[in-house]
Subunit: 414 residues, 2 copies
């Protein structure tokens, strides 16, 4: 019998307790031990819950109970989760978490602490919900150099973009719908502004290349600036707009990493990942492209990933799982303005002919895009691939030449 | 230092040796041991090979060397592979194989032998090449009941079907092209007649439901009967033809399992898996649908999966990996004629009006399909969902009523 504690009884936490209960026999069979939830930590009361006797409001009760060997942290947020997890690892308890904010900010530190104390710190559920991704990347790493990872990592924004593309509803209307359906939170900023995707690409990048990438090192743009005009120009261009998190290793030993909306060609393996689904492409030098696809969030998908980690912990009490990366460094991430990229640009002008003369003067030849029902003076084009800083400089110059830039979206190569 | 032997120096075997060599440092880092290929078993000579000193023609040299703890079997075929693998497991050596024929025929027996001797028998590379699939299914099992698995499991046939759909070339011409490009073997029967896909769905079904499914228990149809007419009717119907291996658990405790071409709706998550790619959908009761996509074959994808298993073996010398299923039984697989299915039917008749009167008499209402350029007397329709044996009986009766059946293809629900 292994006794565990679950910290946080929200959506994921209650799912974990339920999955452990419902699948108790098969879990015991695979873990070769019964697993019992001794404590559930939550500040709220849950009168009438079948698990009522397990609830506690005291973290110390968990920390000081020598019978608890594994602690599941599904509270979310950085504080007090970080403090609690750290104390658990310092006190001989392995930790399983679904908390991407925690892993993205403190992964290297917690992995080191776990290693020092010969404990496990596992976080399969932090990226891709129920899609197995941390483990496959970790396992395929040994026989592969990871060339690149690119993914649709946030279901809420993918739902919004899919609706905008299919039903031509505006961003604001679609966000309101997503909130009504429970796909977006009342404060949707973490999803919509790309922070959630940023944390996930940080975790994948850290794992793939063995060195921590911190969220503040990643240039991150969300989808709140996307207009229906952009969706239509993407269609004309031959693709769709997706919010992509992407990381590549450069020859210099630095990495390129970014989170932003991109135009993806319809041929892209990620172009058909729609609605609340996530899709993650891992390009290895031996395996080639492998894509993982599924629901990236939700109570039971996420809970089942947490439970799989718990079982792994039980099976590996003596043999630690190999998950590790080093602390990061300030110069590890290439300035995104140095990246070579082609750019979609939408602008308004009073004199189209003159505008394109000036545009080609500044940027060289561009591919013009036209759409039905465009507004007077509206123009759109795609630049050649160049260092982004040069494109930005040219666009700035153009605003002094009667070309008012409305939006820019990078052309993805995925 | 761990010493291993590689049996078979064909495409996969030479890839394994090369990957172990090229990624030696990262492999040693992850396995926490150097891995050295002490023997390569092959009856041929490879003069000038950088690994020349490792070659042997004697299986006994490997079997009797107490320093060899892990044997990689990548010879393919059932004999002598089965005999060799069995002897290795009886003599204290863990085995890693990519041999789907071996695992599909003898998996339960070899897994039991491995368990008895506290050894590993691993076969990630036997399904999906470089796509991680055995391990994720095995790990997601604990917290999930697997509702269904369906997959495009054979790259050669998928390449042929994709070409037929896109370029309207006939089966025979496309097969010849696939052979020319090296995607199909000179004797293409195992691929084209569905045997390869059958072995793979047997392995996945055995793993998912814990009981061996043998290839001879699985109704298997290949793609050699597919005509361009069928491809066009699938398009009219709103989908594509794919060779699908599928398994589902029934309430009765029996499984439904089949390998055959199916009409898949364009909305299916497998409809866009094209060319030589494989796609495998795993539906869990907690995770929902998870899809794995990538190249299902090829030297380096397969080799990297083999090497990942070797590393796992090294890390788990003392703690066995949990892979296991029981021997099967003759009554475990439902007769495919009992399955409820909708069926596409193409036929010829001399009197269309009378034919459809007879068809609806026999089968109830059907959905008629028409295509441009159809031949005189050619008809096609899709039946309602019914037990397959009733459909077959009705079709037989129709052939006595002036309706000559040319082809039938099941409508997939994936």
């Amino acid at each position: 019998m292994v006794e565990i504690a679950v910290m946080g009884y929200g959506t994921v936490g209650s799912g974990v307790v339920e999955v452990l209960d419902k699948h108790a026999d098969s879990i015991a069979g695979r873990a070769k031990e019964q697993i019992r939830v001794k404590y559930i930590l939550d500040l709220r009361d849950f009168p009438g819950s079948p698990y009522e006797r397990s609830f506690t409001k005291s973290f110390d009760a968990i920390l000081n109970d020598p019978d608890v060997h594994i602690v599941v942290e599904v509270m979310g947020g950085l504080h007090p989760a970080f403090d609690y997890v750290k104390k658990c690892l310092e006190n001989g308890k392995s930790v399983v978490t679904s908390n991407k904010e925690l892993v993205a900010a403190k992964g290297a530190e917690l992995l080191e602490l776990a290693q020092k104390n010969n404990l496990n710190f596992l976080f399969e559920a932090s990226v891709g919900g129920g899609i197995p991704i941390i483990r496959p990347i970790s396992q395929c790493l040994a026989a592969n150099d990871v060339v690149e990872i690119a993914g649709i990592l946030n279901g809420t924004t993918n739902f919004i973009l899919t609706k905008m593309i299919r039903e031509k509803t505006t961003f604001d209307d679609t966000l309101a719908l997503a909130q009504k359906l429970g796909y977006a939170e009342r404060n949707p900023a973490a999803d919509v502004e790309g922070m959630d995707a940023c944390r996930k690409i940080c975790i994948l990048a850290s794992l793939a290349y063995g060195k921590h990438v911190y969220p503040e090192q990643v240039h991150t743009e969300g989808i709140s600036q996307i207009r229906l005009e952009d969706v239509e120009y993407a269609d004309v261009w031959g693709g769709v707009i997706k919010l992509i998190g992407q990381v590549k290793m450069m020859d210099s030993g630095k990495i390129q990493v970014i989170v932003c909306p991109m135009f993806l060609s319809r041929d892209s393996q990620l172009a058909n990942v729609d609605d609340v689904f996530n899709g993650i492409l891992v390009r290895g030098d031996s395996t080639g492209d492998v894509v993982f696809y599924g629901k990236g969030a939700g109570k039971f998908p996420t809970a089942s990933a947490v439970v799989a980690d718990v079982i792994d912990c039980v099976k590996h009490f003596k043999a630690r799982k190999y998950l590790y990366w080093d602390e990061g460094s300030p110069d590890y991430v290439e300035d995104y303005l140095e990246n070579h990229v082609a750019m979609y640009v939408r602008a308004v002008t009073e004199d189209e002919t003159l505008a394109f003369k000036n545009i080609e003067n500044q940027l060289g030849a561009v591919d013009r895009l036209t759409r039905k029902g465009s507004k007077p003076g509206e123009i759109a084009f795609v630049t050649k691939k160049s260092p982004e800083k040069e494109i930005r400089k040219a666009l700035e110059a153009l605003s002094g030449l009667g070309v008012q830039i409305q939006n820019t979206i990078r052309i993805g190569e995925v």
